[in-house]
Symmetry: C3
């Protein structure tokens, strides 16, 4: 399948890697800036003929909400949302993802936003769908719109991605988020990664092999305090207890895999703190007031990125004029 | 936080007590009358730029439905509804209600209708939300729109609230409904309450202390038949078996904590029977045909009250002209 | 109750039997053809004042989706959809279906699409509802829109229903689908049924008695290979393991209660293969490319049938002009 057509037009959004640097810097991110203006005003009506389907095999309430509201802000509508189709729908009776997508295609929506329970199902779905599909996460594989919004956050704050030092902290073993971000950020020159995790939750060898192959510099650490002072981005993640992850008493020491006052004190004034949310104790609430905290903006930027993706998929011909090109 | 601004404009709906008598009698109830006309016709388009989110941490299908259809009748739309976010969303992963609301705020909807699992979360949410919030129930604490529709039902039937005698029957120990109604009705002069419940399900001391403090007359009984003849409103509630409530064989005697023919015979012709629904056997179906039965109207009035609240929150400047003032 | 008014106008859709041959051939099926054109274009706006409620007591994600998208294509909107009301709503607290429908009526929607958990509840609901109801399945009783789309598929392929030989294969004991189809097809002259099922999953005596009474010829078999060559329609169904159905090793032999190459070889070139979906192994994926496979079209035709039903219920006066009559 050809999912990538040109710099500002594509049929599906399946994985972070499908976006090249030109698309990100010259089209997607500037378009997301435009979308912010639309979202903060009353929205537009350009998509009045657009019908979307929010097909979530697993719940991801917030992601589904942002896709629904983003489509509405453009003038389209999410005609149907299912929150838990993997448990409720024919998928629970053993139907293949291809059959499910074929049937939804028959109803002729303009776009399908889908969360898939199984890794790889987004690509399978795209391979047979003439309706555009946006992957809102497929198992432990990818969550490309999360990676895009993460990188967009960095870009908005620093005006660039290249040469930045990313510290990624916490449960790196279970991180779909971390994986997609590493793939995407490594497209930019001289980016450096610092993976800071307990030994039981280290980053997977697949990702480090990928980074090696693409000559991206990275290091592994087991204490944030050792490197916090040199990082541009501190990207904190939650320990995913529901997947069996846990920290020992020693690992729970504040500042080691979490933000505390000591970290705030040694961080650069220009650095930023990110988190894909939800958070638990790894970022205490008093950090919210620190001017370097960016995790709520980050969530908000997801709306603009998703709106920009809708635009590039559904009405790419409008993109140049939206960017005043 | 200031949630109450003037007589017909406020930012959030959090608890029954926030409404004073002037607001109820001169603004909210007359506006609900206008909303009935809109709902029975084809609706209006005034809210075409309004996007709502139905955020239900616990299921309450009917309440969610009436909020969605009410918004649509005004010309807006409920862009996304989640039925069971407490079980499905990040809240299930331990996220605080403040974080959840902050993130939804980032998507810039115009109104959030929320059912909260925990008592007190509605106030917490309102304290950090710049988007208006309507509390559709928070744990066992409050369900203010239910209390408002209850009182509106009484007002429509009697043309007044003051001096009425309210008999509240059944499971008073678990009654969020009863609590909010007692708080609200006691704002009116010379209202009297008769609480009729089995000893295991009596009204809480918090409420009776509140009534004492506000010098509202009340009495406790254990048999509806003793007082049915003098009541203006017989408000029946369901025994909440799912919370462990039950009646003994003796307490199940028809007419004691339920409506039967004997009650219908001794009730005043001008009295009315209410129930927050769903009902089980405490009101047999043959009562539906009695001209004093009002529980289905009561449910319907909830739609008008919710529409009136939307109007007062989102476009209060239109309220005087809607009332022809 | 009178649910049937004239040939192209009715209040409710409750059971397959309510449609007579004239309505099907002269109104519903031609109107579904028109709806296909609307669905493949951008839709219409005729229903801009129409508000629907998707009330599903049990999940049936795809059916709910097609009803929602069909209403939207006509210009209306499904204001609220609940996926699992039987588990979540007041119904779970013991409320009667009559009370539920009465309350939804109070909110004044224009149409209620409902999946009921209990057989017979669709008729009960219709008996008290002034809002039109479409039965999207009631327990193991009926699923009339499925039967209509099945018959429409046959009609589109053959240009007729009469004189066709229907082979119905698989789990016939649990088939709401099979039941409604048998009732509906037997309204046409000289239709013949071949029921092909393992002895543990034979068609119910109710249905064969019905066919006997209406003088419809049928036969029972236990091997598809015996009769595949003479059939016009091979309607395959899934073994409903979730209801305890299973096949023995011998019954699992390919071609016996499933499609395999041998069946494809002996089938007539003009015959078609249908399936209500979801399928498991009873139709292997390589069959999808066979020109006689019709199960995906069949699903798609469901959208057009549902749109046609909306039209006949909500704006029957437009039907003649839509058909250029």
């Amino acid at each position: 399948m050809t999912i990538y057509q040109n710099s500002y037009s594509f049929q599906h959004v399946i994985e972070a890697q499908q976006f090249d640097r030109d698309t990100l810097l010259n089209w997607l991110f500037p378009l997301a800036d435009v979308m912010e203006k639309i979202a903060r005003a009353k929205g537009v009506r350009d998509f009045s003929n657009i019908r979307g389907v929010n097909w979530f095999e697993e719940p991801s309430t917030r992601t589904a909400l942002s896709f629904a509201i983003g489509l509405d802000l453009l003038g389209g509508r999410m005609v149907y949302s299912t929150e838990n189709a993997g448990k409720f729908s024919s998928r629970a009776k053993g139907e293949s993802i291809e059959d499910t997508i074929e049937i939804i295609n028959g109803y002729n929506p303009n776009i399908i936003v889908a969360r898939f329970a199984e890794a790889g199902d987004a690509a399978k779905a795209a391979s047979i769908s003439s309706v555009p599909i946006i992957n809102a996460g497929d198992g432990n594989n990818q969550h490309p719109t999360q990676a895009l919004l993460d990188l967009y956050t960095v870009y908005r704050e620093f005006g660039r991605v290249e040469t930045l030092k990313f510290g990624v902290v916490g449960d790196l073993a279970n991180g779909r988020t971390v994986k997609s971000l590493a793939y995407l950020a490594s497209k930019f020159p001289n980016v450096q990664f610092y993976f800071i995790s307990p030994s039981s939750l280290n980053i997977s060898k697949n990702i480090t092999a990928y980074l090696d192959k693409h000559e991206v510099v990275f290091a592994e650490h087991d204490d944030l305090r050792e490197v916090a002072s040199i990082l541009d981005v501190i990207y904190v993640t939650r320990i995913q207890e529901e997947r069996g992850s846990f920290l020992t008493d020693q690992e729970l020491e504040p500042g080691r895999f979490s933000i505390n006052q000591e970290i705030l004190d040694i961080m650069s004034d220009e650095a930023i703190i990110m988190h894909p949310l939800p958070r638990k104790n790894e970022i205490p609430r008093y950090v919210d007031k620190d001017p370097r905290a960016r995790y709520f903006q980050q969530a908000k930027y997801g709306l603009y990125i998703r709106m920009a993706l809708y635009q590039m998929i559904l009405y790419p011909q409008m993109v140049p004029s939206l960017l005043h090109l």
